[in-house]
Amino acid sequence: MNRSRTLMRFAILAVIFVGIAVALYNGFIKDKAVVQTGQPAPDFVLNTLQGEPLQLSDYRGKGVVLNFWGTWCQPCEAEMPDLENAYKKYQGQGVTVIGVNIRQPEVTVKPFVERYQLTFPIAMDRTNEITQLYEIGPIPTTYFIDKDGIVKKIVIGGPMSEETISENMKLIVPE
């Protein structure tokens, strides 16, 4: 009788505590970010500055550096030349850079791209949709995505140094 009562109490308390623990874990501890390291990067399609469609999944088989930026963001501006250099250096090894511009019109982006002589493709997120999909907070935010479309590394904030860029690029060079 005593034993079964204690067991009963144990069962009730256990149910309550497990329930609360699950809820709290979901609410506070679990990383709810959509894009996480080790997970596939969500696919999207955007027009480039030149007006051609660019779809992320078309780059399967190549490593992709996905860089979210805007002209108003000074760290973004600061890391642009290094990104361009890295792009040139690793292009032959099957890694590409895609810059995703956040919300800005062509007339703003074009002079910027020309000023820094950027040759990698710039995807224009005019509606902010991809930025929201990736839940971008501070920019620049850069995703290093391998040939299978898996995110290998996320760098939030910047500017990234040349070493950071090339070290992370090595992670995603297809073998």
């Binding site: 009562r5 009730i12 929201q132």
Partner: protein
């Protein structure tokens, strides 16, 4: 643990203080013969008090204690008060970081407030834990009390040990009047008229009314548990969505985190006209009182939502005039009127003119949300946009930048190509003024007309799937409160022992009215009784 034997021979569990079988006070209750019997849980042993051996039992008993529950309530209460001393972080009126705001505004006390984490009181781990502990306490307390109470109320006897009757709060003994049996029948009739249900065992009578009200507190607690469950559920992904979207007049925009699009078909702010004021309220010149914020919204579903960024294929699903207090609701999506930016810039209207002659060459309009690379004025004249800074500012080292993507303070660098100057001449264009870029005088200048303005509506985007559960919890709580507070469980015992008639009454609240009721019944059957509420100041309930 040994059982307690009553005189009648029944073995009661430890902690019992009114014999389960005959109602005779036992155990602790015997000691003080004059006090009123404690009738809580009908004198049955509350389970938590009886077994206190293992750690599980100890945890159980902790949560089962009303004393602990009251302590927790009081701590939450005090913490809540502290949380209102200074504004919580989310209600800071100026855009300043919390670590600076509190010390700057409230001095040392403010700094202490911030350091102790009181600026986020209601989401702090310990505040939330306390609320959860109250929740656990609600569950455990209820289980611990419902079971014995149910058993005790369900196996009530009609005949009791006279000790039980004498030690009730409302009690009287009279000499058995003549023709008592007949009178007892009459009493029974009277009580039935007053909607008592009657049980008789020969000359013993038990009248009972509104027993269900005893369950009020527990129903109420169940409601609160459901409510808290609903609140916890919101933490589960997908149950709760909180977003915000700004939409210009005429613009169609994606509703964040959903596959819906919303179109603002016109946002209006209406003010009260003079004749709509019932009386003068002392408004100054130009003061206005807002009557309505209204967004005519059209909601579309994107049928092509598989691939992000792909050309949306929109299908209209609903249309609604969103007002404050009247959100748009579609399935579990809700859009609330939450903000406004009236008269925001949307396009600049300009005229190109010859600086020297003042001759107007032609007009052009720059859409600030979608400026074109160039604007042809005449066959051989055009204005090229070289750079655009929607929210212009100079950095400390005099570099032009834009602070954001909103066209709040637009600036352009343009190149004006004319027959006089086919290579073009560069100028800065600001809001209402212009400058030659190179520092030399330009041949051509600009005249500014009234810019195009637009209204921007701020819509709050919410999904709250736990809301029905939360409302259901509230509903159950109310039912419980009404059951418990607007009805009382009343019982009247009448029993004859030898030549004496014992009368006794018990209620969980409102003795005043029980006494009046019993008195009225006895007056009706013409048996005068002196009813006394004894042992006042003792434990009632």
């Amino acid at each position: 643990m040994e059982d307690i034997k009553c005189q009648c021979g029944h073995a009661n569990p430890v902690g019992t203080y009114i014999c389960e079988a005959c109602g005779n006070p036992i155990g602790e209750a015997v000691k003080d013969k004059d006090t009123v019997l404690d009738m809580r849980y009908e004198g049955a042993a509350r389970r938590s008090q009886t077994y206190n051996k293992t750690i599980i039992d100890k945890i159980w008993n902790f949560f089962s204690s009303v004393k602990i529950a009251v302590y927790m309530i009081v701590i939450v209460l005090l913490a809540s008060i502290i949380g209102t001393v200074f504004p919580q972080e989310m209600y800071i009126p100026v855009p300043k970081p919390a670590n600076i705001y509190y010390s700057e505004t409230y001095g040392t006390l403010g700094e202490l407030y911030y350091l102790l984490g009181f600026h986020n009181m209601y989401t702090s781990w310990w505040y939330v834990s306390l609320l959860l502990m109250i929740g656990i306490s609600l569950i455990v307390c209820s289980i611990d009390r419902i079971v014995p109470l149910y058993k005790a109320l369900n196996k009530q006897r009609v005949r009791h040990n006279p000790n039980f009757l004498v030690r009730q709060k409302l009690t009287a003994q009279i000499e058995k009047p003549a023709q008592w049996n007949q009178t007892l029948d009459e009493i029974e009739e009277q009580l039935k008229k007053r909607r008592y249900s009657i049980k008789r065992e020969g000359d013993a009578l038990l009248a009972e009314k509104a027993r269900f009200s005893r369950w009020g507190p527990y129903v109420n607690h169940v409601g609160l548990i459901v409510f808290l469950l609903g609140v916890l559920l919101r933490l589960v992904p997908g149950f709760y969505l909180d977003q915000y979207v700004w939409v210009r007049d005429g613009e169609t925009k994606k509703v964040p985190d959903t596959h819906y699009y919303v179109k603002n078909d016109g946002f209006i702010i209406e003010y009260y006209a003079d004749h709509e004021f019932p009386q003068d309220i002392g408004l100054g010149e130009g003061d206005k009182v807002v009557k309505t914020y209204k967004t005519h919204a059209v909601l579309y579903e994107n049928l092509n939502h598989g691939l992000a960024g792909a050309e949306p294929k929109l299908e209209k699903v609903t249309e609604h005039e969103i007002l404050v207090n009247h959100p748009l609701k579609y399935e579990d999506l809700q859009l609330f009127q939450a903000g406004q930016k009236p008269n925001a810039l949307s396009a600049l209207n300009m005229t190109l003119l010859n600086e020297k002659t003042g001759e107007e060459i032609g007009k052009f309009k720059i859409d600030l949300y979608n400026p074109l690379p160039e604007y042809p004025i005449t066959a051989d004249t055009k204005v090229q946009i070289l750079e655009y800074f929607p929210d212009f500012e100079f950095t400390e080292d005099k570099k032009p930048i834009t602070k954001s993507t909103n066209p709040d303070n637009p600036a352009f660098i343009v190149n004006t190509i004319t027959p006089d100057n086919p290579g073009g001449e560069k100028s800065w264009i600001f809001l209402g003024s212009y400058l030659p870029a190179a520092g030399v005088d330009n041949l051509y200048g600009f005249k500014f007309s009234m810019p195009d303005l637009t209204n921007i509506t701020g819509l709050m985007v919410r999904k709250d799937k736990s809301l029905p559960l939360i409302y259901f919890g509230c509903f159950v709580t109310m039912i419980g409160l009404i059951m418990g507070f607007y009805w009382q469980h009343r019982r009247i015992w009448i029993q004859t022992e030898g030549n004496i008639v014992y009368l006794a009454g018990h209620t969980n609240k409102n003795w005043f009215s029980l006494k009046n009721e019993l008195k009225a019944v006895m007056d009706k059957v013409k048996v005068p009784v002196l009813l006394e509420e004894k042992g006042k100041g003792g434990k009632a309930s």
